[in-house]
Symmetry: C3
Subunit: 208 residues, 3 copies
């Protein structure tokens, strides 16, 4: 057990869970917004607010890290993990912002499918991050990683199918440009989730 190495009030695990919890909140809000076709400046502001909460927790982790003499994992790994979890909400915000800039605010069945996959993936990432507390959780972390990988592969296939269809059927090049960006960015969020899950797995493996 890692806990014996740290003072009782060490709360890095709590902070990581808080940070990934904010990513889950972002993914849920994104899915709701996309599913209901309610993309607006207000929705973007709400997502920006969630992103900002995540930034604050990320900042707390780095601050605590700088003050700590002993840390549960390598400092490099903590830095990388904080940044990568942060990227999930950042990218949700970036994508939403792009859709507003492009005025692509109507419902889109493919984007709804992506939003569902993103929510599923971020929930699996949360499960992996919660496993960091103890190497006994290795099995459940591994399972979460398998799920995140599966969703990333599914997302790749989905993006390819949707882009192939777009280039086949859409005759307006401006719309092709817009939708290509949007579908690619949606898929990128699944890539980021995969990166987070792999980082968690690698961190845990080193402790075994």
């Amino acid at each position: 057990m890692l806990s014996i190495f740290f003072p009782k009030d060490f709360n890095m695990f709590d902070l990581f869970e808080k940070q990934v919890g904010i990513s889950v909140e972002g993914a849920k809000y994104f899915k709701q917004m996309i599913t209901e076709g309610k993309l607006s400046q207000e929705a973007l502001d709400k997502l920006h607010n969630i992103e900002h909460q995540g930034d604050e927790v990320a900042h707390d982790i780095i601050e605590q890290l700088n003050k700590s003499f002993i840390t549960p994992f390598d400092r490099e790994d903590i830095h990388a993990l904080v940044k990568e979890i942060d990227d999930i909400t950042d990218m949700l915000h970036t994508l939403t912002n792009r859709m507003l800039v492009y005025k692509m605010t109507e419902k889109n069945v493919h984007l709804t499918a992506f939003a569902n996959m993103i929510e599923e993936s971020v929930l699996a990432v949360e499960c992996a991050v919660k496993g960091l507390r103890n190497t006994k959780n290795y099995k459940s972390v591994k399972d979460a990683c398998v799920e995140v990988n599966r969703l990333e592969n599914e997302g790749d296939m989905m993006r390819d199918k949707v882009l192939a269809e777009l280039f086949e059927t859409e005759k307006d090049p401006i719309k092709v440009i817009k939708l290509k960006d949007i579908f690619q960015e949606a898929e990128t969020i699944l890539d980021i989730c995969e990166d987070v899950a792999h980082m968690v797995e690698n961190i845990l493996v080193k402790q075994i």
Copy 2:
């Protein structure tokens, strides 16, 4: 004071200032070129030359780092900072090159605005890098970071406004493709400046 830990001839701070000074030179030249609408192969060569000078200083820093037993900051941090400062001039060159490839060499009011913001941001970055010499400079580094952040946010808003306008008004898809790339890359330079400023702040915080 950090200075007591290092031999008197230790010149990493000098080298960092030299490197960021070259980025300032690049940003000033870029602004002049864009403002005067004097984009040409000669201008690109000049920028390439500036980029090359920056590469040489970057190389000197890494070489000195490899020879040093004790360094003022973590080796990883020095590596990352050198690379990121280098990216400023690289990106100025990349953008200028793209404009030439796309034959988008006429004056553009939005790009002039970006060039002004980039110059301001790189000057603030220089101020931050100069603060590295001593933790007593923390306040001025922090102020520079706030300024760089402000400019990055302003750049985001500018890019969004300009892209929205482009997609609304420009009916030639080829021009949309070109200008979209150019505005996005211009904004990316402000992102890089923000990364540099944050790195400097984080390095200094660790010393306190």
Copy 3:
């Protein structure tokens, strides 16, 4: 000689050579496919298979790294090198996949030129990686790096020439979008090769 620091059965060098050998196999297959204009789902599957073999070797290296108390180079460097070599085959697969999604499967003289340069560059990268075994190889590693740099510069010029021509002559914006992506991604593979070669050089320099 580094070998005295490690047990006789230490095989990290073997594994690195195996990994880069798989990248060579990928580059050769890519070139053949492009030259013969035989892009198909079967060809993509074959490349995916090569990519997968590379992933397995990468995984073996990381696993061995986690078990090793003493390593020939910094752990960070090994991690970064494994990931970057992996990126070569990944990117070959990504590009091939994109060409299939875009249905751009006919022969293309520019892409054939890129495929030739990629093969040459990956062979030079292999030469550099093989040099890692001993600091006595520094000269040959340096030579390989010079060659990889040369090819990257040539690739940049080629991409610029081809893009400029594309924007000048191609009137179908959808085709512009497709070919722009394809040429840019082809050039990116040369960038990755350059990164690998520089990493190898830096690792070796630290040992001298």
